[in-house]
């Protein structure tokens, strides 16, 4: 069992979990993920590792409550509880180099994080900074309440640009605008963005890749698709990259954003939409019944 040592809300529907998983913590490198099965009837879902504490043997996961499993994790699991299974670290670590440049080249990396993409971005930004690269982070969300890890990313980066769609915090606008500005700023000053990394919702990663393409800036995206095992056994996570089926779990999770078929990926992500909705509705209904029964039980106990 994998005990939850810390749980705290990070923003609207977003929770941070620090979990006892010493084996994972010991081996984790930036960019890797774990498969989590919260309890014995749960699905196995992939979650990218946001942070680790090797000495304490803990890993940090940031979970956005969007479907039955993640809502259940957020609502039903607290400090002291345990998740049934946490397996990893899985996937390939981020290659901390500038593509197409010699290994010893040091340049500027734009880390573009959308929503809770900020969490998996944190170890990557740190790793590039520690390796001697300049890190410019663009952090964006629809509105202020959905921004996470602003402080941690600020510490990990040389420069942090924050934006919200509605202007409730930082610059008003999309991360793509901020990314474009960052590239043009650097170029106007004789510098460059040598690599962009985008992590966030599929649509955001798609448009970040479209933004960098005309500038010829190599762009990595970190994909989070539907998986069962996370070790290459099921093929459910496959995504077309340059017309070839690649497995996110063992070939990724990072791919060249200019070659990923995002539309196909988003279509596959919606494959179980009716089942997911039914599962969530059932959960809500059961929870509602529990609530109705609980006060009665409580008053009986008092009497």
């Amino acid at each position: 069992m994998f005990r939850i040592l810390v749980k705290k809300p990070l923003g609207e529907n977003v929770s941070l979990f620090e979990i006892e998983a010493p084996r994972v913590a010991r081996r984790h490198r930036a960019g890797q993920f774990v498969m989590v099965r919260p309890h014995a009837s749960s699905e196995r879902i992939p979650l990218t590792i946001a942070d680790v504490d090797r000495d304490a043997g803990t890993i940090t996961l940031v979970v956005q409550a969007v479907g039955k499993t993640t809502i259940e994790m957020t609502e039903e699991f607290g400090e002291g509880d345990s998740f049934a299974n946490v397996a990893g670290p899985l996937g390939n670590p981020t290659h901390i180099v500038i593509p197409g440049k010699p290994e010893d080249f040091r340049g500027t990396v734009a880390c573009v994080a959308g929503g809770i993409g900020a969490a998996p971005m944190l170890p990557i930004a740190r790793a590039f900074r520690e390796a001697g690269h300049e890190v410019v982070t663009v952090l964006g969300a629809r509105r202020k309440d959905l921004l996470v890890f602003e402080d941690r990313l600020g510490e990990a980066s040389h420069e942090l640009r924050v934006c919200t769609d509605d202007g409730s915090h930082g610059q008003k606008g999309f991360v793509t605008d901020a990314l474009k500005n960052a590239i043009e700023d650097r170029r106007s000053r004789g510098g460059d963005i040598h690599l962009a990394i985008a992590i966030g919702p599929p649509l955001m990663m798609k448009f970040c890749s479209k933004t960098t393409e005309p500038y010829g800036v190599p762009t990595l995206v970190s994909l989070n698709t539907i998986m069962v095992d996370g070790t290459g056994m099921c093929g459910g996570c496959r995504v077309m990259v340059d017309g070839v089926a690649r497995y996110v779990c063992v070939d990724g999770p990072e791919f060249d954003g200019h070659r990923v078929d995002f539309d196909g990926m988003m279509r596959r992500q919606a494959m179980y939409k009716p089942e997911e909705a039914a599962s969530l509705a059932r959960y809500r209904e059961q929870k509602h019944t529990c609530r109705l029964e609980a006060p009665a039980a409580a008053s009986e106990a008092e009497a």
């Binding site: 009837s41 397996a87 670290p89 196909g264 919606a270 494959m271």
Partner: protein
């Protein structure tokens, strides 16, 4: 064999056969009618996931065992990958000594409840059975598999399981990677030799293909769990959620004080045909489809959270056991039409005869000599049809199977909403990729010494599908057993390590 040839002797006739067994000449024995087991009715069983054949009763098992001729040359023993003493245990069964019979089987086969159900008996022990030759019908061979399953069930449910004796502790530790049939067998035997055995498993449950792949209706999971529980009682330790190569490496295991490693990671990587349309919604590898349904319990969705698509029309590609499992699972998940699309003819199908028979009874429509050429989709990205090209059989290939040759212009579209590809699996590359000193073949399997199952790296042994490629449960078990014996010899020859190394990640 055809169903009409099945007869059912009355209970009185069975008793009489058992009584008179000593007086029967071999000729008379050979001509005794085969005892057929009962099965769930096809129309009923596709509505549930319970096991299809019912077990023999004790009387049926004894009467069937009487048919054995105890041939001198023992073609059944030769046909068994682990050399089970078939005539020996059948004789004990005929006498009613079930305890003696199960003991005899377990000398060579640790998991008879499983092998009795999933071994391809018709191409192993039953293939050259003399009784079948007398009847001129392979279907009339002595039912070795069914009797074996009966004995194991009898032991578990009636007689009480006798656990193999655990050897005196040697202080040596062996890491087994993968809790499938090969790893489980190896772990059990290592305990008999007195070594410590720790099994590392990536999934949250032990059993490997026995739990994620083979469906409940063919191998009840309670049987697998009972075997795993027995191993735990023998002192085998299981460590789940550990992906060796990712969570830690083989080198880490040696550093942590393990004296030997057995790699039994299987052939879990699904192949796809590589035709256009495979990224459409509704296309599965059989691995994914079966893992969702079996291991993750999607049969019971929404009680279990993991879903699997339920649609009316399904096509399964392939002709092996996995294809049969997927096709029959699709029926149980509500499909009204399931096509089984295979490039060759029925004679070349690698599936167990019983599975083919069951699939056919249940209404799976076989489309032989059809090669998939494209999966066609609706504009919304969901599968709408499978386009196939009809083939004819040409010259035999290097394995002696006649090659399918596509007929020009002979295309057909099968209207389906799900396509499940069951055309084979490759070895898992994770251990070879992350372990120095291992040599692989061009197929990605590990090279081992045939006698010891030791890889090209000292102290690292391997067996099962990671060595044989996609093979059978019994062969994987045979490897596990052979490797355990070799590991025992290896450990006894090696000087013990000075002190046990500190354990930092195995606590």
């Amino acid at each position: 064999m055809s169903d009409e040839k099945r007869t059912n002797p009355s209970p009185g006739e069975l008793e009489a056969r058992i009584e008179s067994r000593g007086a029967l000449t071999p000729r008379q024995r050979g001509q005794l009618p085969k005892i057929f087991w009962a099965e769930q009715d096809p129309a009923e069983r596709v509505k549930n996931i319970r096991e299809v054949p019912f077990a023999y009763t004790a009387v049926q098992a004894r009467a069937e065992a009487v048919r054995c001729l105890s041939c001198k040359n023992e073609p059944c023993v030769t046909g068994c990958p682990v050399g089970v003493d078939v005539p020996g245990f059948l004789k004990l069964v005929a006498e009613g000594d079930f305890r003696g019979a199960i003991r005899l089987i377990k000398e060579t086969n640790l998991l008879p409840a499983i092998c009795g159900r999933v071994c391809p008996q018709e191409s192993q022990c039953q293939e050259n059975c003399m009784v079948a030759k007398v009847h001129k019908d392979l279907g009339f061979a002595v039912s070795v598999g069914k009797i074996e399953a009966f004995l194991a069930d009898w032991e578990r449910e009636v007689g009480g399981v006798e656990l193999p004796e655990v050897g005196a502790p040697t202080g040596r530790r062996v890491a087994i990677i993968g809790a499938g049939p090969s790893g489980l067998t190896c772990a059990g035997d290592l305990r008999r030799f007195g070594h410590e055995a720790v099994v590392f498993e990536a999934f949250h449950k032990a059993g490997g293909v026995l739990v994620y792949g083979i469906p409940e209706f063919r191998l009840p999971k309670s049987i697998v769990q009972a075997e795993v529980d027995n191993l735990s009682k023998m002192g085998v330790r299981f460590e789940f959620d550990t992906i060796v190569g990712q969570t830690f490496t083989v080198d880490d295991l040696f550093e942590e004080g393990f004296d030997a490693v057995y790699v039994a990671t299987g052939a879990g990587l699904p192949y796809f045909v590589n035709v256009p349309g495979e990224d459409l919604n509704g296309v599965y590898s059989a691995n994914e489809y079966l893992t969702r349904a079996n291991l993750m319990g999607a049969y019971r969705f929404p009680e279990e959270d993991t879903p699997v698509l339920r649609r009316d029309r399904v096509a399964v590609l392939g002709g092996g056991n996995v294809a049969m499992d997927a096709a029959r699972s699709a029926l149980r998940l509500g499909a009204s039409k399931v096509y089984l699309v295979y490039r060759r003819s029925r004679a070349e199908m690698p599936a167990r005869v019983e599975e083919v028979h069951h699939a056919e009874q249940e209404g799976v429509e076989f489309r032989m000599l059809c090669a998939p050429v494209e999966i066609l989709g609706e504009s919304d990205g969901w599968v709408r049809a499978l386009k196939v090209q009809r083939c004819e059989l040409g010259e035999p290939d290097d394995k002696g199977r006649r090659r399918p040759v596509p007929i020009e212009g002979a295309y057909e579209e099968l209207p389906v909403e799900i396509v499940i590809e069951a055309i084979g699996n490759g070895p898992n590359p994770l251990i070879p990729k992350t372990t120095a000193g291992l040599t692989t073949t061009r197929h990605g399997t590990l090279v081992v010494d045939e006698n010891t199952m030791m890889t090209t790296r000292k102290g690292v042994f391997a067996g099962g599908d990671i060595v044989a490629g996609a093979s059978t449960v019994i062969l994987a078990m045979g490897h596990g057993r052979k490797a355990a014996a070799a590991i025992d010899v290896y450990l006894r020859a090696e000087a013990p390590k000075s002190a046990s190394a500190p354990q930092t990640f195995l606590t």
